[in-house]
Symmetry: C2
């Protein structure tokens, strides 16, 4: 449970930076080298490497060095875990609102709880 | 675009803390007062208020003071925005993998790109 919680901490933390989200967006269109990742961001290579490190720590991205080139790709499973967490909470809340709406629709005005 | 980006920054930042996620989970089951929110977290009231401030800044939670009691509730629209962002990227990546799978299935072995 704690491990799962830590995974969500680092994942949401990784997503909280606009530069890292841009790197992730780029990788969702296909694997890229570190320099390809940095190009549209107008960032120093060392800044790109730092952001990449955060993305890898979070499990959202993996990279592999072949020869002198490090290639990065998205780990869709990790993205799915973050999405699932949000989706479950949102659904819970929206169901609650639906039940409340149904209750109010079925209850005569004089029996409704006061605001 | 920048405003949208800032909204995502603060939203994912708010979700990156396990205490704030627990507060959000509690609120997804229904509105709660600040002290009700803090109770299961074993946190000082001032820590709860700080976390609540981050959640409100992110747009995920709203609160309203009536008399002496501040009641908090979830803003499902904000949760939906965070979920949508992740879902769109994940779908993009998974479609890419599907197309790659289809391409490899249709391509005779001797024409496949080398690893």
């Amino acid at each position: 449970m704690l491990q799962y919680s830590n995974a969500l901490d680092t994942m949401f933390q990784a997503l909280a930076d606009p530069g890292r989200r841009l790197m992730l967006e780029r990788l969702c269109r296909g694997p890229a080298s570190v320099s390809e990742l940095g190009e549209p961001l107008k960032m120093s290579l060392s800044a790109v490497v730092q952001h990449l490190h955060v993305l890898e720590q979070s499990g959202l991205v993996k990279s592999e060095k072949v020869g002198r080139v490090r290639t990065c790709h998205v780990e869709a499973g990790a993205l799915r875990a973050a999405e699932k967490w949000i989706n479950e909470r949102r659904t819970l809340w929206e169901r609650r609102l639906d039940r409340l709406g149904a209750f109010l629709a079925e209850t005569p005005d004089h029996e409704k709880p006061k605001e």
